[in-house]
């Protein structure tokens, strides 16, 4: 079932500051979409409006063709999994899963069958008789998934359901949710502040900040083609190297000046730069786009290795060059030593340019 958010606005109660600022979004049928953003960016509020737990101050919400803006949550046929709540403490696992069905006034036999199916699907069949004290956090979260599924909702809403689990369990549950999505093919909205989760789960990612949608796109798009500075810095660990710079015409090519070293800028930016130089910009490059090269390489910037952090198979190296500190990711086998002098080469294709004033990407888009 497709979900359409039309110019949604939500103000914080008890103050007039805006939580969700004119959000327009269409979520396709059977899509798993992830809302990603720092806390307080409005992602959860947006989801709660889809669920009906908050009423928008402006705009409309459609589920399928139905305008549900003013429909009570119980009548929206959505399901929601919450961040810090998983099981009703006064009920057993079985009663928990049966709970949404009781609201539909189904027969006992029908309920029983549906409960068992749902329990089977998330793997809690063995726990049905247990109470909340007798299940672990991960199991409780599975129960909440089963409870969400049992009603066959048109839309699944998940509000950081994994954030209270430990790292290993989180990865495991992530896979499970992905599998569930593939099996049920229902529309799923997943809210998280964890970009790794967003990247691995989402068909598409909605990056939000300060109540606004910053970018909507596939994980690949969001990572490799951030629309603006916010997305560029928020997505990716460690974040993009970003510096103020001035674009200069150096002969035929555009360059950015790095303490005398002129880094060429790809041609694709020329159109958006209005051919007016020198132009102040923010320029950036992800740590993965930097390589160590020999000192002989003319297209390189000299620097000194300050800190080395191991990331397992790779290592994160901080290199100082003048007043700038670059983070570089290289293979663990690459020999680096603290204090060593080195030379950095920037992959032209991975250079990002943003307008200095509003942070918008200068990449030309079709």
């Amino acid at each position: 079932m497709k979900v359409v958010l039309q110019d949604l606005v939500k103000k914080y109660p008890a103050s007039d500051s805006i939580a969700v600022n004119h959000v327009d979004l269409t979520i396709a049928d059977s899509e798993l979409i992830v809302f990603l953003g720092p806390s307080g960016c409005g992602k959860t509020t947006t989801m709660r409006m889809i669920a009906g737990l908050e009423t928008p101050d402006g705009g409309k919400i459609f589920i399928g063709e139905r305008d549900v803006t003013y429909v009570a949550p119980k009548d929206r046929r959505v399901a929601m999994v919450f961040q810090n709540f998983s099981m009703y403490p006064s009920m057993t696992v079985y009663e928990n899963i049966a709970f949404p069905l009781q609201a539909l006034k189904r027969s006992k036999a029908e309920i029983d069958q549906l409960v068992r199916e749902a329990a089977e699907l998330v793997g809690v069949s063995a726990l049905l008789k247990r109470g909340v004290r007798q299940v672990s956090g991960g199991e409780a979260q599975r129960v909440s998934l089963a409870r969400a599924m049992v009603r066959r909702p048109e839309v699944f809403l998940m509000d950081e359901p994994l954030s209270s689990l430990d790292a290993k369990l989180r990865v495991q549950m992530r896979t499970e949710i992905k599998r569930l999505h593939q099996e049920t093919r229902s529309t799923m909205v997943f809210v998280t502040h964890d970009q790794e989760e967003a990247m691995t789960l989402g068909d598409r990612i909605v990056v939000m900040s300060q109540g606004k949608v910053q970018q909507v796109g596939t994980p690949h798009e969001v990572f490799f083609d951030p629309y603006n500075l916010f997305v560029a810095t928020f997505v990716g660990t460690p974040g993009m190297n970003l510096f103020d710079g001035v674009i200069q015409q150096s002969g035929d090519t555009l360059c950015v000046d790095l303490q005398g070293y002129m880094q060429p800028i790809p041609e694709r930016f020329r159109a958006t730069l209005n051919a007016k130089t020198p132009t102040p910009v923010k320029w950036g490059i992800r740590p993965e786009g930097i390589r160590f090269v020999d000192a002989t390489d003319p297209n390189s910037l000299a620097g000194q290795i300050e800190i080395i952090e191991s990331l397992g198979s790779r290592q994160l190296v901080f290199v100082r060059s003048g007043d700038k500190l670059f983070s570089v990711i290289v293979d663990s086998l690459h020999p680096v030593r603290q204090g060593e002098n080195c030379h950095l080469h920037f992959d032209e294709t991975r250079i990002h340019l943003f307008e200095a004033q509003n942070g918008r990407s200068l990449t030309q888009r079709g």
Partner: protein, 312 residues
């Protein structure tokens, strides 16, 4: 997955303006649906009496005349010039300070102590909260009887250990202390109950790590227990303070404010002014001032409480 789910027919896409407005309104003001009944009740049972008595304090109203001339601040001026009022205010503040801190220390101390033992906890708990279940007037009378200088058990206890019996409730020095002790006797169980419950819900982890780090009991208490229990402590203190301010029954039956008015609390003073001296509106003025004083104190405690809660 074969079972068909009944789906409701799609609701009308065009909803009436009114319905939208109403939905909005009701969602925005949903809290009022819950609060309104209590608020209306409070309006009748609390605000009306307060407004009425405050209103009275601007008139000359007494239990000995039907005329009620408007006198503006006369009653307030009178009451502020009455040394008995200030005496009663001082007594009340002392009473509140001593009994609240006393019942807190005893109640909290016992709750802590109860953690140290394992056998017979339930029985001890039960015995300890008994005084709370007894009506203040009964408590006062019982202790009056205990302190009777000729026939009371306290007296016989003192004779037993070879001390001259004292006339506890008849001397200005001791009456105050005895009344406060009895108040503590009556109310420490409330603090005990709250603190006992608070202690039993403390997490274990900080204690274990502190102990591994070799912290002393005292350090654990001041650095871990107290901070973790701050909100609970404040709730207990607030509840006690609120009730201590309006103490009436206990003092009324034990000393009736005597001897020499050393135990006369504000409640008793107001009672005397209204019912013994017939000066209803003076009592109203006194009560108004008392309410202002109390609100200032409670406001102060509230700020403190909220700072704590928001700091988390």
């Amino acid at each position: 997955m074969a079972l068909p789910i009944k789906t409701q027919p799609p609701s009308a896409t065009r909803q009436s303006q009114f319905r939208i407005w109403f939905y909005h309104w009701s969602q925005k003001n949903i809290h009022w649906f819950f609060i309104a009944p209590a608020l209306i009740a409070i309006l009748v049972v609390a605000i009306y009496p307060i407004v009425y008595s405050t209103g009275l304090s601007f008139f000359r109203v007494s239990f000995d005349s039907r005329e009620r001339p408007f006198v503006l601040f006369e009653n307030f001026i009178w009451i502020l010039n009455d040394k008995d009022y200030w005496g009663a205010l001082g007594n009340t503040l002392l009473y509140v300070a001593v009994t609240v801190s006393g019942s807190f220390v005893v109640g909290f101390g016992l709750a802590l102590l109860l953690r140290r033992i394992s056998v017979g906890r339930n029985w001890i708990r039960l015995v300890l909260i008994l005084p709370l279940t007894i009506a203040p007037i009964v408590v006062g009378l019982t202790w009056n009887w205990m302190f009777d200088p000729l026939f009371g058990l306290v007296n016989w206890f003192f004779i037993g250990i070879g001390v001259q019996p004292q006339t506890w409730l008849a001397q200005t020095g001791t009456a105050r202390i005895v009344v406060m002790l009895v108040d503590i006797w009556q109310w420490y169980p409330l603090v005990f109950l709250i603190m006992d419950a608070g202690l039993s819900s403390l997490p274990k982890a900080p204690y274990e790590s502190a102990r591994l780090e070799g912290a002393s009991d005292w350090m654990i208490f001041t650095r871990i227990t107290l901070p973790l229990l701050r909100a609970v402590i404040l709730v207990a203190l607030l509840l006690r303070t609120v009730d201590a301010f309006r103490t009436f029954d206990l003092v009324r039956v034990m000393t009736d404010g005597g001897p020499a008015q050393t135990t006369e609390t504000l409640s008793l003073y107001l009672y005397r002014t209204a019912f013994n001296f017939n000066k209803l509106s003076r009592a109203g003025a006194g009560a108004t001032i008392m309410l202002i004083v109390i609100s200032i104190i409670s406001n102060f405690m509230f700020r403190f409480l909220y700072r704590e809660q928001e700091g988390r």
